[in-house]
Amino acid sequence: MVNGEKGVGILFRNFKSSLIFTPLIGLLVLVFLLSILSPYFFTVSNLFNVLRQVSIIAIVAVGMTYAILTGGIDLSVGSVVALSGVITSIFMKKFGVSLPLSIMAGLISGMACGLVNGSMIASKIRMPPFISGLAMMAVVRGIALIVSDARPIFGLPDSFAFLGGGVVLNIPIPVIVTIIVYAIAFVNLRFTKTGCGFYAVGGNEEAARLAGINVSRIKVFAYLISGFTSALGGIVLASRVMVGEPIAGYYYELEAIAAVVIGGAYMGGGEASIVGTLLGALIMGILKNGLNLLNISTYWQQVAIGLVIAGTISFNLFRQRR
């Protein structure tokens, strides 16, 4: 019979074999341990604090998920975070442009970076994503420093603070933005033809090509999305600190990659889960927060994060080989 198994059994089996199994268990264990170890951890104010801190990396990691899903990587995200914050600030401060249009300008600057990056990777040049990303990382950082005269841009209009610092129904705006971005990405990847295309291109590029999928377009689209989410993260960051900072976003690419990989993605492409990425970002944020609460030095925090990355990946690989 060509029929689907039904009931809870199949659901559980699918869940156990799904990418998010490891990060979800990891997150639950982490939350459980920290709740026991620190009385301050499991409180509403602290949890919102964590979420607010996590949101920017989480938003950036959405684009990184797309890039890694297609078998690539986007190393330029940190620089784009800086550029978009700087551009938005300059438009508001120096050009006196309205808030929405300034934000739009910041987003467009990020998408332009993604478009250039994706074009180098997907066009006839076929530049390896790693190299293309390195180049973009340097160029975009340079542009952010040039347009800002290498100085942070202060004195942004008060209305701008809403995006990073405001709350709606007691929920911080960055958290709401994160939820919206993840919801859209989830629906896009799970339920649309384009989403299917990302998996196909990452899973078997030649098969995708033979099936008539426009591989180049899918790849450019992935980096365009990455440029957009990086810019969005950058603008939220600028709003939170109320500074257009040309040296913002250093090492964000590494944190975003860590979130995606902890979330169960395969660096070779074709396997990544948007929910997994969110869990990955949460694990890293909660780990940092917990270690802070436990008064553990930032040096040890670095060690802990490295161990968590190595640990989850080992566990995932072990599970897959079984």
Binding site: V2, G4, I10, T192, C196, G203, N204, A208, L210
Partner: protein, 260 residues
């Protein structure tokens, strides 16, 4: 050159094909005919030119000279897309399926059923799954249980079956299979071969490359032999036997029966 030929005689006719790679003459004056609803086996030793011939027909390689006629009309096949549009599909063992997608999405890959909402093309997953189930049942495929199973988790035989049914699903007239049973066990091979035979009911013609003469005799209506890039003979399957085909393959005048 070119022009019309008697329509209906052959579904596919390949004439006077030449192809060389550098100094190596891979195909020398090779011809091939394929009738409607026929399974044609192409056999030959390694390097006999079988794969090159198939790649020319499926558009993956351009020949140096030669003609291809489809239903009597000369066909220009310059790339795989041309071949697909003419209804010719080559199914490669590794290149046909995307491991990380499930059976349904693989079957529909590139041609998904969608409902556009706000600029996004939403998949009609329910409809796609029902169609997949119907299609697999119409081919008598019973080994696949869960349509949401990722293709990676399927056995080699199941993958091959899905790859073939995909070509059928998209209405291809000619399916070319390069060693479809190469990596499969006995039972799995049997299933794939039965599926190939069942394709006749769907009005599909098949060209299959195989090294396994048992499989050739089970599945084919006719066998065509290549040797050193040239036609070495062609036999109706019920008018020949393994010995004769082996002779054609090796070019030996006679075979000492004691060898076997």
């Amino acid at each position: 050159m070119g022009g019309k030929r008697l329509a209906g005689e052959y579904l596919l006719e390949v004439k006077d094909l030449y192809k060389s790679f550098g100094g190596v003459q891979a195909l020398k004056n090779v011809s091939l005919t394929l009738r409607r609803r026929e399974v044609l086996a192409v056999v030959g030793d390694n390097g006999a030119g079988k794969s090159t011939l198939m790649k020319v027909i499926s558009g993956a390689i351009l020949p140096d000279s030669g003609q291809i006629f489809l239903e009597g009309q000369e066909a220009r096949i310059r790339n795989p897309q041309d071949a697909l549009e003419l209804g010719i599909q080559m199914t490669y063992q590794d290149l046909a399926l995307v491991d990380c997608l499930d059976i349904t999405t693989n079957l529909f890959l590139g041609r998904e059923i969608c409902r556009p909402v706000a600029g996004m093309k939403f998949l009609k997953l329910k409809k796609m799954r029902t169609d997949t189930r119907k299609h697999l049942e119409s081919l008598g495929i019973k080994t696949v249980k869960n349509l949401r199973e990722k293709v990676r988790r399927l056995s080699g035989g199941q993958r091959q079956v899905i790859a073939i049914s995909r070509a059928v699903f998209w209405g291809q007239k000619i399916i070319i299979l390069d060693e479809p049973t190469a990596a499969l066990g006995v039972r799995e091979s049997q299933r794939v071969l039965e599926l190939i035979r069942a394709l006749k009911e769907q009005d599909i013609s098949v060209v299959v490359i195989s090294h396994n003469l048992h499989h050739v005799f089970f599945v084919a209506d006719r066998v065509m032999v290549l040797r050193h890039g040239e036609n070495a003979g062609e036999r109706e399957i019920h008018k020949t036997d393994g010995d004769e085909v082996v002779k054609l393959i090796t070019g030996a005048e006679f075979i000492d029966r004691k060898m076997f």
